[in-house]
Amino acid sequence: MFDDLRDLYQEVILDHGRKPRNFRRLEDADRTARGDNPMCGDRMELFVKLTPDGAIEDAAFQGRGCAISMASASLMTETVRGKSPAAARELGEHFRNLAMTGTCPDCGGALEEEMERLQPLSGVHEFPSRVKCATLAWHTLNAALEGSGKEATSE
């Protein structure tokens, strides 16, 4: 009945959804932000620790939500580690493209490897109501990096 949904719910996503990586508080975080999708009830709190020169040393999150939002946050915390805030933001832009259109023609170059890791989430582009589940974590990361202290939503 649901075999064709394996494109959306690839094994990687189900796995990260069930057992999200970096699912913990960072007590010594330099930046935190909350993300909320009021419509879905997805909620997360993101923690970022920076190195002395401002790169992302560690990222972790806690929260609850659908498999897509949890998997996306989990994969994000893995891929942004070691990135400068600017690179993390650029990666987020690429990812939003991927989530909305299914491809990202300009995503080669320095971030190619990271984009490959995020590729399993590209299936959401066929599900307009689910795109924001995938992008919530990245909106929250931007809010954390800006240090605006505002709650992020992907509305």
């Binding site: 009945m1 649901f2 949904l5 719910y9 189900l14 419509m39 879905c40 009830g41 659908c66 498999a67």
Partner: protein
């Protein structure tokens, strides 16, 4: 598929296949699968009779109402007022003037909160709602509380999803409650509240009563004269009518005491720059050009369900509820929210290994439309520890037992998918 439902005289009155043919949208396929529309609680599909009545209005009898002394405007005014009379008959109101047209339930409840709430309730009095309210029957009272210094009380819901009448009584006891504003049927739990009991308890304590009948009016015959409430709100689009029209039934004595809510054309008797006088109720509360075409559509919808007969609609739904209760209880890992004795065809549920949104995406793939989230009842989901939301299947006239079987089967497969 369904056993024919038999009325007391023994004749089958509910021909589901014929009913389904009245709803053009139900013929749709979704990825090669028939559409299984289980979101009628959010908004119902429309029968051809409603669609055609609205088209006919625009093609043949349309002009603004209450304004022109020419044939078309007179025809349109007559049709608009005939719609009001039809609503009055449908809910057995004592007088058509008790029927105020609004844009939906939300607007109807806000009208009471703004006008009666600000004009008649006094600071220090309380409004008593329940834990199972839709946001439309929570937020207007919070606004009133913040604006006017009234108290907002919340009656509890039991674990079975029923209104806790003891708690309701306790919260009425000090006589400070000026209004009990409660749903007549929960849009999440399906619970039908004991409306007559609530009216008796409230009136005994000196409080007026508003029912949010958005769900109940669709599923049962509601009778204003028998019920004896003060205000009753419902919305056209859930009753197989168009969007953009709702009803506030309000006793004339309350309408007399209520200041206008919106000001403008149609609600005045005379205007000078020094001041204005108001039209008689219900026009006083219908400022501006009303939803004319929508009123015609609502009239057609009421004629449609009345021809089938609300008792038959209710019997069909009762059979569906019993069937769904059996079939959904058999699905492993499925939690049903609410097990009220008296309930309508609304089932909120959660699967133990899938989030509501993931589940809804799967069901969509199977052609099944259900709602996922908190269904505008966030406090109720918090009450049951389901902040992440639930999926909700809600039934209409055209829902079949076969569709419920298909849902149960899809839920079992969905659980395997996420295993």
């Amino acid at each position: 598929m369904n056993a024919p439902i038999v009325n007391p005289s023994g004749a089958p009155v509910f021909d589901i296949e014929r009913i389904r043919q009245d709803f053009p949208i139900l013929a749709q396929q979704h990825r090669g699968k028939p559409l299984v529309f289980l979101d009628s609680g959010a908004s119902a599909q429309k029968p051809r009779q409603v669609i055609q009545a609205m088209v006919r209005c625009m093609e043949e009898r349309y002009a603004n109402v209450h304004r022109g002394a020419y044939r078309l405007s007179e025809a349109s005014t007559a049709d608009y007022e005939a719609a009001r009379a039809a609503v009055a008959r449908f809910i057995n109101a004592a007088d058509p003037r008790e029927v105020i047209f609004t844009s939906n339930s939300t607007a109807a409840i806000n009208l009471v909160a703004h006008s009666w709430g600000r004009g008649v309730l006094r600071p220090g009095q309380a409004v008593l709602i329940s834990e199972m309210e839709h946001h439309a029957n929570i937020v207007p009272w919070q606004l009133l509380r913040d604006d006017k210094g009234i108290e907002l009380r919340v009656a509890r819901v039991t674990d079975a999803g029923e209104l806790d009448l003891e708690d309701l009584a306790a919260k009425l006891a000090d006589g400070k409650v000026g209004l009990v504003a409660i749903t007549h049927m929960s849009n999440v739990l399906g619970t039908v509240t004991p409306a007559e009991r609530i009216v008796a308890m409230a009136h005994e304590a000196g409080a007026k009563v508003l029912f949010d009948g958005s769900q109940a009016a669709v599923h049962r015959r509601v009778d204003m004269q028998a019920l004896g409430a003060d205000f009753y709100a419902f919305t056209g689009h859930k009753l197989y009518g168009p969007t953009g029209i709702g009803v506030l039934w309000a006793r004339l004595e309350h309408q007399e005491r209520m200041p206008p809510f919106l000001g403008g054309g149609d609600m005045i008797s005379s205007v000078t720059f020094e001041g204005s006088t108001w039209a008689e109720p219900p026009a006083k509360f219908e400022a501006g050009t009303p939803p004319i075409i929508e009123a015609i559509g609502l009239h057609a919808a009421i004629d449609y369900v009345s021809a089938i007969g609300m008792p038959a609609v209710e019997a069909h739904e009762r059979a569906l509820v019993d069937h769904a209760m059996r079939r959904l209880s058999d699905v492993e890992g499925l939690t049903l929210l609410g097990r009220a004795q008296d309930r309508g065809g609304v089932f909120a549920f959660a699967l133990d290994n899938a989030h509501a949104h993931d589940l809804a995406t799967l069901l969509d793939r199977a052609g099944i439309a259900v709602r996922a989230g908190r269904h505008c009842a966030e406090p109720l989901h918090a009450r049951f520890g389901l902040d992440g939301g639930t999926c909700r299947a809600s039934f209409g006239l055209y829902t079949t037992e076969g569709e419920i079987d298909y849902l149960a089967e899809a839920l079992t497969k969905a659980r395997e998918f996420f295993a």
